[in-house]
């Protein structure tokens, strides 16, 4: 049996289809994945994300430690509550994990890491924290609920005590606040507005039920995946991993090369890869019927008759799905750097035309590409 969150029984009672995800028994959907997807784009949905790891870092040199540990620069976090998205790299530049770090005080930062990588993440963090006298404390007694959608915030706020409500209401995007035993952040993984709420596991079921009474629809990992892909957000293990660095994973924007003197783990390798890297992550839009899936082969167009002597340039779909918002298939794919605007994707032995587009595909309920 896998690990269970504090909301497991609630999911089962709601008729969730339960699947294994990174060793956790999690809801895939509660009946219709597509309805759950649309609820988040048009109104409000909620996800149990308690399987993710919450790691608190304390110490006088915690900021200096994070400037060494992370590819993005914790020095950019100047206002308490501000969040930063970053990769944590191997010396090779390969990605150990992607995470969010919240700046809570000069001696306290909080990380949220992926479920499937939490053990190796913790081992890596502890190994490097010692030199900075930073203590590493995993918060295993916290549940986490992500409430997402255009109406998510207004449906969540009434559940908070008046003093907390005022603080949560005023949170700017990508800020969080510690409110007694709760932590509320205006973050998410869907391309919509909303909150991610960390709360004591004992409060989780009651809060979930109260959100439901507010008209927030439970949504599973299936909808979470189609929403994040429409929003052009990477999934660790699919779109980047220890064998693929951020610069070929659409994550160059998260690597802070400035200031030049900041010696973060992986920097030396990335300085070279910056010049020599030959691949990039692009968005794909399938121009024909069918569904793009991870690991399908991408063939760059223009290798037709007359150029048969040159081996075709190929890449691979890293994440693919059917987009409920666009009603067609979309994907992220790692391909040789190209000026081409179209490619072909091999689906069950036959080639299908796809266009290269710049993600995101959908943001704040609106399609950003033609459909």
């Amino acid at each position: 049996m896998g690990l269970k969150t504090a909301l497991y029984d609630t999911h089962v009672r709601s008729g969730a289809k339960i699947v294994d995800f990174g060793g956790w028994e999690m809801p895939l959907h509660y009946g219709s994945q597509i309805e759950e997807h649309h609820a988040v784009r048009r109104d409000a949905g909620m996800f149990d994300v308690s399987h993710m790891g919450v790691v608190d870092l304390h110490g006088d040199r915690v900021r200096e430690f994070l400037q060494r540990l992370l590819a993005n620069d914790a020095g950019r976090l100047k206002t308490p509550g501000k969040a930063l998205y970053s990769c944590m790299l191997l010396p090779s530049g390969g990605v150990i994990d992607d995470l969010i770090v919240y700046f809570l005080s000069d001696t306290w930062f909080r990380l949220v890491v992926n479920a499937g990588t939490r053990d190796k993440d913790l081992a890596w963090i502890r190994r490097h924290a010692a030199a900075f006298a930073v203590t590493v404390a995993e918060q295993r007694d916290l549940a986490m609920i992500a409430i997402q959608g255009p109406n998510a915030r207004e449906k969540t706020l009434p559940l908070l005590a008046p003093a907390q409500r005022t603080v949560a209401q005023e949170l700017a995007p990508f800020y969080g606040a510690s409110l007694d035993s709760w932590f509320v952040a205006r973050t998410g993984y869907t391309g919509e507005d909303g909150f991610e709420v960390m709360l004591p596991a004992a409060d989780a079921a009651r809060t979930w039920d109260a959100l439901r009474a507010q008209g927030v629809l439970p949504a599973g990992l299936g909808a979470r995946d189609t929403l994040r892909l429409e929003a052009g957000m990477n999934l660790y293990g699919n779109d980047m991993d220890e064998d693929h660095h951020p610069l070929e994973s659409g994550l160059a924007w998260t690597v802070a090369f400035e200031p030049g003197g900041r010696d973060f783990i992986g920097r030396d390798a990335l300085e070279t890869l910056r010049r020599t890297g030959s691949r990039e992550l692009v968005g794909l839009l399938l121009e024909e019927r069918g569904v793009l899936r991870s690991h399908q082969k991408v063939v760059l167009a223009g290798i037709a008759a007359g150029e048969a002597s040159a081996p075709p340039l190929t890449g691979e779909v890293t994440s693919g799905t059917f987009s409920p918002t666009l009603n067609r298939s979309i994907a992220l794919a790692r391909v040789p750097k190209t000026a081409a605007s179209s490619v072909q994707v091999e689906i069950r032995g036959t080639l299908h035309a796809a266009s290269i587009v710049k993600p995101p595909f959908v943001r704040h309920g609106k399609a950003l590409i033609p459909h």
Binding site: K17, H29, Q33, I34, V291, P324
Partner: protein, 139 residues
């Protein structure tokens, strides 16, 4: 419990087969049989977003992968329960793959096939056998 109509036959890979004389839906003429996927199968797959059916005229051998049903999460092959020649694929599914979820035994049929030889009904499971098979599979 899953809906398992008594007048159909079933395979271990969760296709159903409707014999011509039992065809309440449109009817598959001249001894052709109609094929689809079971209520259990569509429920396990989840919301379907793409269905590919065989074209009329295609010759199939029992066990051939001949159709694809794709949900948001995965693609699954559908195997022909019988040998013969396809007389029709359900064209409505191109625009409305969700018909398979909504009405798997009716409007969500996949294809019709003229069998090479009289169908040996014993080679397929009865509704009662299929129900037992599902119960065993769930254990």
């Amino acid at each position: 419990m899953s809906n398992i109509p008594k007048d159909l036959r079933y395979t271990k890979s969760h296709e159903w087969v409707r014999m011509a004389q039992g065809a309440a839906h449109g009817a598959a003429p001249n001894g052709a049989v109609e094929v689809g996927i079971s209520e259990h199968a569509q429920s396990a797959l989840g919301d379907l977003v793409f269905v590919e059916v065989p074209e009329a005229g295609r010759a199939l051998t029992a066990g051939d992968a001949c159709a694809v049903v794709e949900s948001v999460k995965a693609a699954s092959d559908v195997y022909s329960p019988v040998s013969g020649k396809v007389t029709a694929g359900n064209a409505a599914l191109a625009a409305q793959p969700e018909l398979v979820n909504q009405d798997p035994y009716g409007a969500g049929w996949l294809f019709r096939i003229q069998t090479d030889s009289p169908l040996d009904a014993a080679s397929l499971m009865s509704a009662a056998d299929y129900e037992k098979y599902l119960a065993d599979e769930a254990k």
